[in-house]
Symmetry: D2
Subunit: 168 residues, 4 copies
């Protein structure tokens, strides 16, 4: 069965979403598709759109778990799931995934990362992508937690690590 990789990150409107950060997301999507993983994400803009765009460039499958109406899905989403659950949909993204990659992010991404770690799922943060992914990569932060995320510096490291951790 194909592996499912969740990518969590900021929606559009986050000032940390520079071109460089969006390029990281696009590259992550591309690499997930290259390894024949299914991408799952929140289906909206910002990181979610960039990662789905990258996956489609390589012919991958993209699933968007939307907070309300599926018509809000970005144009790179193949399978838009309109949950009508609002932020609760964050859990479905995390529960559905074999591994979670965090890129940039604010409270919503922190919500997804924290639930993944509370559930014991493998989480990889890209420390060079700003936002809470940068924040949670710091040693003085991580000492507060027993379960720790993995830290990667590049898209290649993050995707390789994700697939290695889940056995492919």
């Amino acid at each position: 069965m194909k592996k499912i990789i969740a990518v969590c990150g900021s929606n559009q409107g986050d000032k940390s979403l520079t071109k460089e950060v969006l390029k990281i997301a696009e590259r992550v999507g591309y690499l997930i598709a290259e390894k024949e993983g299914i991408l799952i994400c929140g289906g909206l803009g910002g990181i979610m759109e960039a990662v789905a765009k990258g996956a489609k460039e390589k012919g991958g499958i993209t699933v968007g778990i939307l907070p309300y109406d599926k018509s809000k899905a970005n144009k790179y989403i193949d399978i838009p799931i309109g949950t009508n659950l609002g932020f609760y949909r964050n859990y479905i993204i995390v529960n559905s995934a074999d591994a979670i990659i965090g890129i940039c992010g604010r409270w919503g991404t922190l919500n997804e990362i924290s639930i993944a770690l509370a559930l014991g799922k493998p989480v990889i943060l890209i420390s060079t992508s700003k936002g809470i992914s940068e924040l949670l990569s710091k040693k003085e932060i991580l000492k507060y937690f027993e379960e720790k995320p993995y830290i990667a510096e590049t898209p290649e490291q993050a995707v390789d690590l994700a697939f290695n951790l889940i056995g492919k």
Copy 2:
């Protein structure tokens, strides 16, 4: 955007699941794929497996919204979503769909049909497929409800009606 059709019906173990009833489900799956719809269902056995099998015979895309672990998905599911939500996942199936087709079914299917009708989504029941789909096709039952399901007698009627109702 491709249309999403949910098919709801009995899991394996229902004595009403005769060969004829499973053939109806398989045919419905085939026809949904032929019209380029995405099939969404509960991802388990019985009707869910037969309908996904039919969709894959025609090269369609199949999404399974599982109650707990995605490893329980039947082998015809392309995208298994492990919600860890138990029966709550019924709502996600219904919320994600443009139209809902009911085949056979017991309390669980009635749960999905009832939420779809309470939400005002188009529901088509196949009256020849036994179970609650037969039951809810009866006039003396339907008089109890203001919002009523559509009734079809064959897979062709059901799938044609579903796509006509949602504008394709």
Copy 3:
């Protein structure tokens, strides 16, 4: 620990909600409080308001699990829980209860009853209260299902049966 009894039934706007039917709900609420049960319901109008009114007349505790904002709770609700979950909140009502009593009802109530029976929870329907509680009391309907609800004719029968079934 006090027992929790869910009462499910029509919201205001259902034409079946006659004075007699509302009196049944009010009496059920009163009797639940008399037996020191906690009443849980959907918190809105119609049956939900009548049953909560009855429970407060006898000094009981009333919990309302609201679909969205807790400000929509009727005035007899002590503890309004605003879930922001829409119809998904039906599951929480059912999951929280030791036993479920159905009074009148349409698709929404059928949704709650069906999930309770699928989960194997004890369900008691008052056959004299119209709506789906009357419908599902009929033998020709019940033969479609393996798990069956209990049928009561009066509030006293229903509440006695509920507490007997759950061991108080």
Copy 4:
């Protein structure tokens, strides 16, 4: 209508849960009850048990939103709601509350705090209670977020602030 205050914090097993931290939680519960607020929490051990204990000392009402079975509620919970939703129940706690107070905490508490802030609900963290409540009180952390929690140093400050913010 009475105000509902959620208190989020570590379950038992967290090494940061010293006697002093548990005393903070107990005092917060007492003060919420004194102001006639309804306490809502996750219903389990650690901070959840200490805060409920404090509320009952002052005769308050305590609601526990449990992840699965309500039989797991601590003995100070008046209204145990067994959601069968696992960690998803965190959202219900947050959605139900007028204000959220954080005490100590790990990933699960961070999950609740992050969703509250993403939703725009008022959040007050007690900076002297260790764990993520201490962590998120730091200026170098808070600069990562636009929406910020309020920071209190004592139970009195936290509860006063909560009620002031929500208009009582």
